[in-house]
Amino acid sequence: MRALWKGVLSLNANVSSEMVAAILILTGTIFSFLSAIGIIRLPDVYTRSHAASKSSTLGVLFTLFGAFLFFLFADNFFSIRLLLGIFFVFLTAPISAHVICRAAYRSSVEMSSTSVRDDLKGALRKEQEDA
C-alpha cells in the first residue's frame, strides 16, 4: 500500500490527481459490492432495505464523485450533469427505500423470526380502530 502511494506521489501532478479519482471510484464499487453481500445474506425485506439503500447510495455517490473529479482534472470539464445526478440519487434513494418498506408492511410481508419488536403493529391497529 505504501509502495502504491509512493508510486502515486512520484508521478506528475495530473496523473496522480486522476489516480485519486480512480481510487474514489474503486472505493464506491467496493461499497456496492458490500451492499450486494447484504442483499444476499440478510434475512427479510426490512433488514435488507438497510443494505439496499444506505451503503449502495454511498457507493454510487463515491463513484459519481470520482467521475466528476476525473473530468475536472483530466480535461478541466466541470460537469454540472454529474453533480445533478449526485443530487438526484441522494434525494430519491431514501424515498424509494421508505416507500418499498411501507408497501411491504402494508401488504403484510412477514418479519424474520429473529426480530424482537414491532412498534408499527400496535399503531396501525389503533389507527384502524379509530377509523
Binding site: L26, V45, G85, V89, A93, A97, R102, A103, S107
Partner: protein, 94 residues
Amino acid sequence: MIEIILMLSLGFLALSMMATIFRLVIGPTTPDRVQALDLLGINLISAVAIFSVLLNTHAFMEVILLIGILSFIGTIAFARFMERGVVIERKRLK
C-alpha cells in the same frame, strides 16, 4: 494503471449486479424483487459513470440522469401497485 483500477471496479460492480439479480430471481415476496430492481438501477448508474470515465467521453451524462429518474418512477409505481392494487388512483365524488 488507471485503466486497471477501473476494470477492477467494473468487475466488483458486475459481481454485485449478479448478486442482485440472484435476489431478484429467488426473492420470496414482491417487495424483495422491487428492492432488487431499485438496487440494480443504482448499480447501473455507477456502471455508466465508470464507462464514461473509461472511454473518456461526456456523452453518457444524460444517460445517468435518465436511468436515475426512470428507476425512481418505476419503484414508486411498483410500490403503489403493491400497496393499493392500482398504480393511478381515481377519486370520485359521490
